[in-house]
Symmetry: C2
Subunit: 420 residues, 2 copies
């Protein structure tokens, strides 16, 4: 009694991040045909993107071909394409090449960097959301060192060796810690450069780092970063940036050739047309069942979905939320097909963590607060286990072990041709 695949309900999933990939796999044995669409041919392990940006890992160690992951899933078709718009009335999505009809749609489009409509910032600073950006940051940082060795003007040389990160959330903290460690490695290679001229600065608009954790964790993060030589400036806003000088709030200026923007994300532009309602991070409101209000056959999960938790707080834009929502969206979708009642989403918060570098992390998990070496080991284990594919895990572990023992960085290559 197997149905022809052509007669099966057509489920289209947009996005092969943590949410979309999880949803695709959860539908493996369901009586539906799945079409998964992503602009890239790989799934990106975003939590380690900052390591690519700081020459610790190479691109293929955190990216895994989607077709390879889903090779054995017979009810799935993968399409590498950029989705240009949604035509919910006609039940189709519009890609660069064609229109793809759906019976049910799961939007797992994630988020993008939010430059808060500041075109100067957008043009001159680096986001950290995809492989290209990470590799651009790596090339740029390494290039600054090479340029600095040839620069005779001390003022210009200092700006080349001043690396600024805006945003004291997990991404900013991890980037600052990783750059500080990279700089320490790099310095061995540039005996002619004055260490006094190398600065890593982390700017945070609020009065503490990692505001989603306890003040204790914020403080120990600050201390750990300071110990690595990172200058943390709290209560400091970036007003504008022209690629040479960062204009700070209180008429202060900071000359720097490098600004990494980790101070904001927002829902991916594709879904922003779905609602006029202005919600934080331009996210789109979903029902507790994860359907969008306008169309019961469309589910929206992950970073782009706005759903308050039991306390009225919007759920954080993190992978565990996306993955738990993927599980419920798939179950609700199958309930909808069978005309059963749908269930609401409840987030099981496992806690969160951030690494500050070698031997240093903070973690608040299952009610426990960890920091330092133990938190770092937990962080290492959790991330290694989640990396897709045995080969990736092994190669990443070798890279990490190498860096740990030898204070070295594996991928210190300046690659050209990335159009910058």
């Amino acid at each position: 009694m197997t149905k022809n695949q052509n007669q099966l309900p057509r489920v289209v999933i947009v996005g092969a991040g943590f949410g979309g990939l999880r949803a695709a796999r959860a539908l493996a044995d369901a009586p539906v045909h799945v079409t998964l669409i992503d602009r890239n041919n790989y799934h990106l392990f975003q939590p380690l993107l900052y390591q690519v940006a700081t020459a610790g890992l190479s691109a293929d160690e955190i990216a895994y071909p989607i077709r390879g992951i889903l090779r054995k899933q017979k009810n799935l078709t993968f399409i590498m394409s950029e989705v240009k718009s949604l035509n919910l009335k006609e039940s189709e999505i519009i890609t660069e090449q064609t229109a793809i009809p759906f019976d049910y749609l799961i939007l797992a489009v994630g988020s993008e960097t939010n430059f808060f409509n500041n075109p100067d910032l957008q043009q001159h600073s680096y986001g950290l959301k995809d492989l290209q950006e990470a590799q651009s940051i790596r090339n740029h940082i390494l290039n600054q060192f090479e340029k600095a060795t040839l620069e005779t003007d001390e003022r210009l040389r200092k700006a080349m060796l001043t690396f600024v990160i805006a945003g004291g959330g997990p991404t900013g903290v991890e980037m600052a810690g990783a750059i500080a460690e990279l700089v320490r490695v790099m310095h061995k290679d540039y005996p002619g450069l004055d260490p006094q001229h190398i600065q890593v600065v982390l700017l945070e608009a609020m009065d503490r780092l990692l505001a989603h954790l306890t003040t204790d964790s914020s403080q120990s993060t600050l201390n750990a970063l300071a110990g690595k030589g990172v200058q943390v400036r709290l209560n400091t806003l970036v007003k504008s940036y022209d690629g040479r000088v960062i204009q700070l709030s209180e008429k202060q200026q900071l000359p720097s050739n490098t600004l990494i923007w980790a101070a904001g994300v927002q829902a991916a532009s594709l879904v922003r047309e779905l609602s006029q309602e202005k919600l934080p991070q331009n996210r789109i409101k979903v029902l507790p069942t994860l359907q969008i209000p306008q169309n019961e056959r469309v589910f929206l999960i992950g970073d782009a979905a706005y759903l308050p938790d039991q306390n009225g707080q919007a759920l954080p834009m993190v992978a565990p939320v996306a993955m738990q929502q993927a599980d419920l969206a798939v179950k609700n979708l199958l309930r909808l097909i069978q005309s059963e009642p749908l269930k609401p989403f409840y987030y099981k918060d496992m806690g969160s963590m951030a690494t500050i570098g070698r031997n240093q992390a903070v973690a608040e998990l299952f009610g426990l607060r960890l920091r330092g070496w133990l938190a770092w080991l937990v962080w290492l284990f959790v991330h290694l286990m989640q990396l897709v594919g045995f080969r990736n895990r092994l190669v990443v572990l070798i890279n990490w072990a190498w860096q740990y023992w030898f204070y070295d960085r594996a991928v210190r290559l300046i690659e050209k041709g990335d159009c910058d």
Copy 2:
């Protein structure tokens, strides 16, 4: 009695390939100051470049930061810069940023792809001389598969899945074998594509492959490639290519979206101004002492140098020649400083080899002719041992082992932003 480094003779080395890097290291304990210049910040292990082009290895596995390699060499300064021209009269080289004076110069500039002044070929086909080209080939090949799944016109789809390599030398043979194996891996990921439509074609203008080896080795190479599904067409010239259709000599056409040009190299353009004499591959004649005729303080080694062997044959453009010449150039340079007589170059030919893929290679070493599995093991061992850095060796070995056992390819990522 140590001299001040400023008073030491200034030796400038252009190029950090096999020759230049070897020369730099050989000068480690000499009473000179060495300035090594390269356009990249890494030494590239060119013999494995085809593996990056076919998704077997990632860039950092065959490229190693020059500053890391030479960190402990106190008499050396590295400059990452593109050399624009040579001013031998003033004893300086002109880079993008500045002029660098020298007392002695070692030119180890290598070779570049020779499109024989055919601008169409140059524009539409891929060379294989640097990391960017290798990554462009990888992205392009993988993209053809993704595009083919969406293409409804059978003729166009077939051209997308026809991969043509021009040139039956070691590079062409290795590329053809590696693409044939990649295609076999890829096919598992694209169940919708007709294997009949996937073609790998190797074009060779002469009547046999690997013309520098014996006819026996040529024949077994041809057989091995045919066994992998490569169509080898001997006595076939490429006249032109517009990116869609390859025009062959005898009015024949071959529709293909991919032409990899491994049919010619020539001396790097930087040194071609040194002589008007037209020699094969636009190489520049050097004296047996490896000095150029015009200037006794300038040594030219490696691919760009034209020097006949005992039989009047020009030495091959391969790494062992460059490295042996580096050793002699350094010795002669030091003799010159001490006003001792210089010695002529004699090439110790260790033989040559080429891999055709999994379990398949040909090697002619020390008078022995090997082929098949044993030649492949020798090839593997020789190349692994030469790779700079323990970490690289280990990671490359894991990648190879993975591919060997699982018939998989590690780096099947389509990276964007490489401007193509």
